[in-house]
């Protein structure tokens, strides 16, 4: 690991200023991804700006009935919050399906969203990788890509975003609050992560020095139910092969509202707008759910070894929606 400076930020303003002043500086949340990648030599920040002590550790009720989640709220605290378990179960379930008790106690909301891909070439500095070293190539495209993308990938990168939290937030229409050197802005979580295109080195739309300060959830829909389903290689403590976050409201046997997002399929949580189109107003039956999944997954372009993800995604979506429909 290269030596680095360390600054415990006393305010959001100081964090942003310090983060922007030094090229390559990184914010430190819980460190469960960043410190890992620094040990591997993948990240070599000259300066860590520790934001974990900032007063962004609260979950607050909003006047409109939504929830504001501070960026340094720990994953375990967020998953346990009564408001989240009662009104946004998909969010609690997504968090609890990820990592381990120890890691969730340390990991922050902001850090979880910005965590980097688990692509094995990306994590191995002896290998080429366009995301880590732009222009060196993408060995995953023809190599070990079983766990990687089937949707939205490019010739330059086929990596997936590994965050379970991000999938739930995408399904919930959450918004990320960003504070940067040029002021504050809000970005829908569905647009926070980029598709790789020609610039896989840019995971997100974050600009240099820009800090996530909070995530805002819109009010929950009375009458809707939500859940998270995750398929993985072992029953616990493993990243998703495919996951799905779903919100469904059924009235009189027909779908009144549906929001669906997939994890493990793309470089960002994949909000399934085509599937939602099919669902809206249709009878809440397994047949509808299958047609909806197929409509979304028609765009999939599997690589040599990951075509199974399409079947898995289809089945998970049908399963989650069927379960939610049965509750109304």
């Amino acid at each position: 690991m290269k030596p680095f400076g360390y600054l415990r930020a006393a305010s959001v303003e100081e964090a942003v200023r310090a983060g922007a002043a030094q090229p390559g500086a990184k914010f430190l949340g819980g460190g469960t991804n960043l410190v890992d990648l620094m040990k591997l030599g993948v990240e070599e920040p000259p300066l860590l700006v520790d934001v974990s002590g900032l007063p962004l550790d609260r979950i607050e009720e909003l006047p409109d009935g939504g929830l504001r989640i501070g960026a340094t709220v720990r994953n375990s605290e967020l998953a346990a919050a009564v408001a989240v378990r009662e009104r946004y179960p998909v969010l609690s379930q997504a968090l609890l399906s990820g990592a381990s008790g120890q890691l969730r106690n340390t990991a922050t909301t902001g850090g979880n969203l910005v965590q980097r891909t688990r692509c094995t070439y990306f994590q191995d500095i002896s290998k080429p990788c366009n995301k880590r070293a732009p222009g060196t190539g993408c060995p995953a495209r023809d190599g070990a890509h079983r766990d990687l993308a089937v949707l939205g990938h490019s010739a330059h990168c086929v990596a997936t975003q590994p965050s379970d939290l991000a999938v739930a937030l995408a399904a919930l229409d959450a918004t990320a609050h960003l504070h940067g050197p040029d002021g504050e802005r809000e970005v829908p979580v569905t647009e926070f992560h980029r598709l790789p295109g020609e610039h896989p080195e840019q995971d997100t739309v974050l600009r240099p020095g820009e800090l996530i300060t909070a995530v805002r959830l819109p009010p929950d829909r009375p009458g809707a139910h939500s859940r998270y389903r995750k398929a993985r290689d072992r029953a616990s403590f493993a990243f998703a092969l495919v996951s799905v976050g779903a919100v469904l409201e059924v009235r009189g046997g027909a779908v009144r509202y549906a929001a669906l997002a997939f994890g493990g399929l793309a470089h960002r949580p994949w909000r399934a707008r085509a599937a939602e189109e099919v669902l809206r107003g249709a009878p809440a039956t397994a047949d509808t759910f299958a047609r909806a999944a197929d409509a979304e997954l028609a765009a999939a372009r599997p690589l040599r070894e990951n075509g199974f993800k399409i079947t898995l995604a289809r089945n998970l979506a049908i399963d989650a929606l069927t379960d939610l429909a049965a509750r109304t």
């Binding site: 690991m1 360390y6 430190l28 469960t32 346990a80 008790g101 120890q102 106690n105 616990s236 403590f237």
Partner: protein
């Protein structure tokens, strides 16, 4: 950085450009003033600088749980915690679980159940189990907690709950069934119930 910093900001700027910092880690109730390279993890600080070798280095990447300690009462992987970022925090390691000669009930239960073979994972298993009991009492759910459970209420620790909540601790010797039994004993008040929940 500011061009004409205030005194407090100036002190922080020095730390930001330096590669080492002064810090105090409170370990098992004892304050240790230390000057450490920023790269030092809590695990390395414990093992290399404080001669507390209970916490083990298995993977050094958050994947095995052998390094588990408690930070302000909550379990964490000390291999991923930078010591400088834990300045002022209270850390409990396996060495701090016993009270004098009296072992922690979990240590007793592990002995009673023979919940290990080589013992390498055991300090992490013990700290993780201490953390788990507190989390369940504080109403932290897990991915196997039923939807019907009342949010915020203490979570009853079934064998499934214990298994899921201990999944961040690997055991290469495969002592899992007895680890689950030992944690179950302490859940039941530290008394071996005679009922083997897992094995």
């Amino acid at each position: 950085m500011e061009s004409s910093p205030q005194p407090a900001a100036a002190a922080r700027t020095t730390a930001a450009t330096a590669e080492r910092s002064d810090m105090v880690l409170h370990v098992n109730g004892v304050p240790y003033p230390l000057t450490l390279d920023h790269r030092t993890t809590v695990l390395d600080a414990l093992r290399e600088h404080l001669d507390l070798t209970g916490a083990k280095k298995g993977c050094d990447h958050g994947q095995c749980g052998a390094c588990t300690v408690l930070v302000d009462g909550r379990r964490a992987n000390s291999c991923l915690l930078l010591a400088v970022a834990q300045n002022g925090r209270r850390i409990t390691t396996v060495e701090g679980l016993a009270e004098g000669d009296r072992l922690h009930p979990l240590q007793e239960a592990f002995l009673d159940r023979d919940a290990f073979q080589c013992g390498y994972c055991t300090p992490g298993q013990l700290c993780s189990a201490v953390g788990l009991l507190a989390e369940a009492a504080d109403g932290f759910p897990s991915s196997v907690t039923p939807d019907t459970a009342a949010p915020g209420a203490p979570v009853p620790l079934t064998a499934d709950e214990i298994r899921e909540r201990m999944s961040g601790n690997l055991c290469r010797c495969g002592a899992y069934p007895r680890i689950v039994d030992a944690v179950g004993d302490v859940r039941d008040g530290g008394i071996r119930t005679g009922q083997d929940v897992a094995s």
